[in-house]
Structures are given as C-alpha cells and as structure tokens.
C-alpha cells in the first residue's frame, strides 16, 4: 500500500459538469515529494487540485490518491486540505480549538468523539502555527493572516499523509510566509507529501523541490523547481499566447489547443 505513489494521474481530464478544464494529464507524485503546482490564473491548477480532493469531477482517465481511485478513497481523513479561502467565516462564533478540531473528525468515523489523543493533536497543530496562546479565542478576533494559519492548523491536525494547499501564501505578509515555510518544513520532514497550488514559489522555495506547471489545462513543465526559472507569478502572461520561454527540462508533449478559458 505505502509503496504506491501518493498521486497517480493517467490521461486525467478534470472539470465541472461536463466541461473539462484539465485535459489528459499524466502525473505521478511519490510519497514524501514536495510539489509546487504552478500556473497563471485560469490555467487549471486549482481545478487539478480540486480533482485530487474529489471536489471537481474526473471526466476521463484515472486519478489515484493514496493508492485508491479518488472517488472510492475510504480514508479521506488521511488528506489535509487548506482551501484558498482567506478567512474563517462562520456566522456563529467558534474558537480556534473548535475550528482546528474539525480537522480531526474525519479520522474518527461518524460517531466517535475527540479523545485525549485527538485533543493533543489539535493542540500540537495550533502550537505548530504559533497560535498556542489563542486556542480558546474566537477565530473572528484573529487577524487575516492568523485566520489563514488556523486553516493550516486544521489540516495539520489530521496528521495527513498528503497535504494539499491552495494559494497558502497569497495575501500573507512576509513574516507570516516565513512562519508558514517553517511549519511546512517540519511537516515534510516527517514524510508528508506536499502539493501546493500557487502562482509564486519564492516564499516556499526552501520547502518545495519539484515544479509542475499547468498551462491551458495541460502540464507544460514538470521537473526540479530550482532549475525551472519560470516566469511564474510576475510578468504579463496572456492566455492563448504561447510566448513563455521553455525552461531547462521544459517539455511540451501535448499538442497545444486553444483554451476555452475556465478556471
């Protein structure tokens, strides 16, 4: 079981309804790898990640997560997910402890309550993101950056084998980005597979080792992050304009098609 790759996509098309946004993608990520999924807005990188989480539909091909087809994965509690959402936004107040505690629930089946070991994991996750002294504070009283860290802690509380993050550094100040990088370094050191969807690699450059560039729903580059030198994040990349200089290792093994747009 554990020798199977963390992720394996074969000819995978992913989208919403019957519209494919990611098309014919082959990708294998082994356990313990740290991967940046890069791409400009509308490239399909978020859809790719959502397909791994069962939040977007696999329309064609195969998507295997932690050794099982994504739709049939029983133990989803082994996945940690940090959504793109900037803040925690419930109408009813909730403490940091309560929000992070949710990250633990999926591991417990339908009826079991949090046990002492789970409470310890929750406390550890909150401490890891530097909010140990805010455990019992309402989340709404925290700053935007701190609320993002609460969502990271929620994912960490699951002690995930696979951690998927969507734009964790967007809109986060430098100090908080450094704090996040330190947290992720600790998590990946224990063998967790990390997939970070982002448009900027600089803040987490020390943590991520491999880059997968999604371009118009296909993988345009797959290789080491350090050598990729891709103009991702900055610059003006116009969708539909194939003007991006290929980086070392860049391969374009799929015929380029005109995109329909989408996410």
């Amino acid at each position: 079981m554990s020798d199977r790759p963390a992720l394996r996509l074969r000819g995978a098309s992913i989208g919403y309804g019957d519209v494919a946004i990611v098309r014919g993608v082959d990708l294998t990520v082994h356990r313990g790898e740290t991967v940046a999924v890069l791409g400009s807005n509308g490239s399909g990188k978020t859809t790719l990640a959502r397909g791994l989480l069962g939040l977007a539909t696999v329309l064609d091909g195969e998507v295997e997560v932690l050794g099982a087809p994504v739709g049939r994965l029983r133990e989803r509690g082994r996945i940690g997910y940090v959504p793109q959402r900037h803040t925690v936004s419930g109408a009813v107040p909730a403490t940091v402890r309560e929000v992070v505690g949710v990250g633990r629930l999926a591991r417990l089946g339908l009826f079991r309550r949090l046990r002492p070991a789970d409470r310890t994991a929750v406390a550890d996750a909150v401490a890891a993101v530097g909010l140990g002294d805010r455990m019992n504070d309402p989340v709404a009283s925290l700053s935007g950056g701190q609320q993002r860290r609460v969502l990271v802690a929620r994912a960490l509380a699951a002690e995930p084998e696979l951690l998927i993050m969507d734009e964790p550094t967007a809109g986060v100040d430098a100090a908080n980005q450094d704090a996040l990088a330190a947290v992720l370094a600790g998590v990946t050191a224990s063998g967790t597979t990390l997939v970070v969807v982002t448009h900027e690699t600089a803040p987490l450059a020390g943590v991520l080792s491999r880059a997968v560039v999604v371009d118009h729903g296909r993988i345009g580059y797959d290789g080491p992050l350090a050598g990729s030198e891709l103009p991702v994040g900055g610059g003006h990349h116009h969708p539909g304009e194939p003007g991006r200089p290929p980086a070392p290792g860049y391969r374009l093994d799929q015929p380029r098609v005109t995109p329909e747009g989408g996410r």
Binding site: P83, V92, A94, V102, A106, N136, S143
Partner: protein, 340 residues
C-alpha cells in the same frame, strides 16, 4: 401560581419548555449554514401534511411530521444535485406546500374542518396529553442526535467544501440536519405556529452569537434563551390574553434588540477607552498588507507598518481594522518605538 392550576396550561407550559429547548439547538446549525429560512420553508410544507392528516382523519401531527421530513430530504437532494436552480426549486416546494395545505384543508368535510389559524399561528392551549407524548419523543430524539452528531453537523455547517474534501458524509449529515429541522417544525407547530417557527429557531441563536465566544457556548446559550422566552411568553400570553406564538416571538425579538444595543454600547465604550489610551489613526484609507507599499516592521509580538515614518499597528475589532500609532519608526528598524 394560578397559571399552573389548569391542566391545559400545565400541558401548554410543558410543550413550550420542550419547544424552547429544541428549536434553538437545531437553529444554531442553520444560522451557521446561512440557511436561516429553511425552518420557515419546512413549516409551509408541513401544512400540506396537516391537511392530508385532517382529510384522511389520521393524526395531523404525524402526517405533518411525514410531510416535513420528506420535504426536508427532497430539499437536500435538490441542493446536492442542481446548483443553479436549487433556489427556485426550494421556493416552488415551499409555496407548493402552503398552497396545497390551504386547498386541501378547504376540501375537508364541514364537520371535520379544522381551524387553519390554529396551525398557522399556534394554539398551545389545545395541546393534548397524546400530543405531549409525541413532543417528548421528538425532543429526546432531536437532542440525542444533536449530542451525538453535533461536532460533525458543526463541521459541515461551517465549511461544507472542506468537510467533503476530508471525507465526512456531507449529504447524509445535511439530510440528518434537515430531518431534525422538520421534526422541530412539527414540534413547534402547536406552540408558535407554522408561520413563526423559524423565529424560535433563529432569534435565540442570533442573540447568543453576539455574546458567545465558542460554538458550544453559543449553542447552550441559545437553548437557555429559547427556553426562557418560550416559557415566559406562554405565561405572559395567559395573563395578557394574547396568542402564545406571537407573544413568544415578540419577547425573543425584544431580547434580541436589548442584547444588540448592549453589545453595541459595550463596544463603543471599549473603543472610546482604547482611543484615550492609544493614539488611533482615524479614517485610515487602506488596509496594510503585503505589497501595500509600506514596509512591514516586526514590533514585539506583532508586525507594524512604516507609514511615512509612523509605525501603524493593525488592530482588528468587530467593526473591522484600524491602526494604532506605535511611535516613530527610526532606521535601522525594530528594537525601538515605545508603545504608547
């Protein structure tokens, strides 16, 4: 207590006690899910059930329960399947429910015709011993499920997408919540009436969430508030000769206004006190953050922003963010600028 001398009032108070406790216990989850009006809609659907019960001479309470639970499950399936037309589908179901109820009730033979108003606005004093038994079962059932599944229901209500990603049975939990709402609707029918049910689910929660710090605290507080206004409203209606449902809801809304005013007053006082102690940069035109053009400067346990030589410390409150002046910023950064 004179009010307790009559059997019908004893039953009325028992019923209002159960309703007051149960309705907010379910309502808090609806507020969290931003589905505050689901109870209202299921009340409409329950009316069709009542009418069917009257027409077929079966117990209206039982028939209403079946109709409301079916409606609730249907709503969740519609929500889960269609994304765009879900809103309209709900509206059709809700109004179909009340229209069907009105028409079916009008078809009832004269001798069996039931007072529509009693169902729409409540008729607590007509509560029978058999009704009480049904209510007690519903109360135990609903509170039991909330106790058992409360954490999961919170998880799904708080962030449905996350819950789905990590494999919680989102649809099943939503159906359970909808069924709980349906049961509560039927329980509340006699006390506050189908048109006012939502108020008793939502208003106590709206009061509690202004005071509570945690979800659990808010839930307990909402139940306590619901219980008090429900029993107090029923007692008041006895002495004032007013309908119980309206009296309970008006009482709850009065408390809501009172608490809202109290919280606003407390915040204003805290703000004034804060302004006296710390210098606040009033009417700050933009929010400091990454790429705002003002360098971030670590300052003790937080990050300030150098705004034309002044250190601005973000201070988040319920009303948003403002900036406290944390002194002059002298290069090289950090290690200076005493806190006012």
């Amino acid at each position: 207590m004179e009010v307790l001398e009559f059997g019908f009032m004893q039953r009325a108070l028992l019923a209002s006690l159960m309703v007051g406790l149960v309705a907010p216990a379910v309502g808090v989850f609806l507020v969290q899910r931003r589905l505050s009006l689901l109870g209202d809609g299921l009340g409409h659907v329950a009316l069709t059930g009542v009418a069917v019960g009257v027409l077929t001479s079966t117990a209206p309470v039982g028939a209403a329960l079946v109709a409301a639970v079916l409606g609730a499950v249907l709503i969740e399936l519609v929500r889960a399947r269609g994304r765009t037309s879900g809103d309209v589908a709900l509206a059709v179901l809700f109004y179909g429910g009340i229209a069907g109820g009105v028409v079916l009730l009008s078809l009832a033979p004269r001798g069996r015709a039931t007072n529509l108003e009693a169902y729409l606005f409540g008729a607590i004093t007509t509560t029978s011993a058999a009704d009480l038994a049904v209510f007690a079962v519903i109360t135990v059932l609903v509170l039991g499920v909330v106790w058992l599944l409360g954490q999961r229901l919170y998880a799904v209500s708080d962030d449905e997408e996350y819950a789905r990603a990590v494999g919680l049975p989102v649809l099943a939990l939503n159906v359970v919540l909808a069924a709980l709402v349906a049961s509560t609707v039927v329980l509340s029918m006699r006390v506050v009436g189908l048109l006012l049910i939502s108020a008793l689910m939502i208003v106590p929660s709206a009061i509690a969430q202004q005071v509570g710090r945690s979800f659990r605290q808010t839930l307990y507080l909402a139940c306590a508030i619901g219980l008090v206004v429900s029993v107090a409203g029923t007692t008041t209606s006895y002495y004032a000769g007013t309908p119980s449902g309206g009296t309970i809801v008006l009482l709850a809304i009065a408390l809501f206004l009172l608490v809202t005013a109290g919280v606003a007053l407390r915040e204003a006082t805290a703000r004034r006190r804060h302004r006296r102690r710390a210098e606040v940069h009033a009417a700050h035109p933009h929010e400091h953050g990454e790429g705002c053009g003002h360098p971030a400067v670590p300052h003790g346990d937080h990050v300030d922003y150098d705004h034309d030589g002044h250190l601005h410390a973000p201070h988040r409150t319920g009303a948003g963010v403002h900036y406290d002046e944390h002194g002059e910023h002298v290069a090289p950064p950090a290690r200076q600028g005493s806190r006012p």
